[in-house]
Symmetry: C2
Subunit: 261 residues, 2 copies
């Protein structure tokens, strides 16, 4: 069986054994992949509040009790070992990457899992909307905008967006399609004029890779889960752990279960 | 100007001065009315987690910082005085009703506001779906079901539902219409066979009033915000304050702003 079509549980077992350490894009298609944030219980209420106040960039899939590592959306999984790559921040500064964070976690850490735009990309393709980052086999382009999230306690962040270029008619269809995926960022937050949201050079994303924008295409922008990382590290907490970009947690949930309730 | 068409701010001022102490049903039409829960900061994370885990009965509109009483969704309002009637619980037991809770709140209380099905009732009417409780000028029928919410920390509750009877074709339309209102309970959770969700006698609601069900109609059930009250008092906390049923907080938000994002 090709690795690309492994079931989530088998993929997580490979990852746990150190046999898959690269991005999870395109793996276990049809299953929900999630952004991870772990931070101390003392600030968990304020962070959860930040996420509730900013649901488009921070669509909560699961929040674990302090010191618990097995998410409801993936029974048997362990968030300390089952992501291919993690980032560790101390006092708001990036410290190191790790393949396993068992040595970095304490029992006071609370784990948050957030929806990811991977969940709607296959729905876009099915609807005839191009996904340029898949066509060009690279990471989606992400930008820090001039829009600010609603703060909560010590947490604040600009809104980060992901961008997919397409024709105007396709943008209309993309809005319809992604509206249903309200637990994985939902409808776009902006389209066209990238200057209006503070993006000066569309060819220089702040995260991920640049992609080709054809002359008859406009950029379409969705709220992006990287916002949760920026918010988490904004509070200069002693320790914050996140997934490494593109190295997501692969859950047992089907993408389709995250559409409208 | 008739009281029914007062703008939310004017209505809240009347309430604050003690000049409106009855239910808010039908007042300030088109504006979002909200369920209120106030509980101690020490349990606020667990309660917020309960709500996030059970979004259909607990659609969060606003959560205030501890000791803050002015919600973002109604600048200038004061949650201690601007609801017509409150219920005060101590150690999990109902203690008394009050028209003003200024004497009962401490600075460690966190206030939660939740969406309410009032927001979609006018959309149902516009779509030609009858709303029997409006026709019969009574409170909507509410029932405790045999479905349990996902617990969090010390909080647990059965799922409470509200019921509106309608023809089968109207139920299809009602599902479409309320799907858009995903921040005010969204689509129904059940229809027909009330036994299946543990309701033995549809004519004896646990809260609210019974309504007429015509021979060609089925009961359609939506998750109900009363669930948030049952969950809040389930933890036997020293003090919990909620609105009194039907006596909601009237915000400045328009119902339409709470549809799909």
């Amino acid at each position: 069986m090709m690795k690309e079509t492994l079931l989530p549980q088998d993929l997580r077992n490979l990852i746990r054994r150190g046999q898959w350490q690269t991005p999870t894009t395109g793996l276990s298609p049809g299953y929900v992949q999630a952004n991870l944030v772990m931070l101390p219980k003392s600030e968990a209420f304020s962070f959860l509040l930040f996420c509730v106040r900013n649901p488009k960039p921070c669509p909560i899939l699961d929040v674990l009790e302090p010191g618990a590592w097995e998410p409801k959306i993936a029974p048997g999984a362990d968030l300390r070992t089952d992501l291919p790559r993690y980032k560790i921040y101390e006092n708001g500064e990036f410290k190191e990457e790790a393949f396993d964070v068992g040595n970095f976690v304490q029992d006071d850490l609370v784990s948050f899992l957030f929806g990811c735009s991977f969940s709607f990309e296959s729905a876009l393709l099915s609807a005839g909307v191009p996904v340029r980052n898949l066509e060009e086999d690279c990471n989606v382009s992400m930008y820090i905008t001039n829009r600010t999230c609603i703060p909560a306690g010590p947490f604040s962040s600009p809104l980060v967006v992901s961008m997919r270029p397409m024709k105007r008619e396709q943008a209309i269809r993309a809005i319809q399609v992604t509206t249903r995926f309200n637990q994985t960022h939902g409808a776009p937050i902006h389209m066209g004029s990238s200057e209006e949201i503070g993006i000066d050079n569309i060819d220089k994303p702040d995260f991920g890779d640049p992609v080709t924008i054809l002359p008859d295409e406009i950029p379409v922008f969705w709220a992006c889960g990287v916002t949760t990382t920026l918010a988490a590290i904004s509070a200069n907490l002693p320790r914050v752990i996140t997934h490494s970009p593109g190295h997501m947690f692969v859950s047992d949930l089907r993408d389709e279960t995250l559409t409208l309730l």
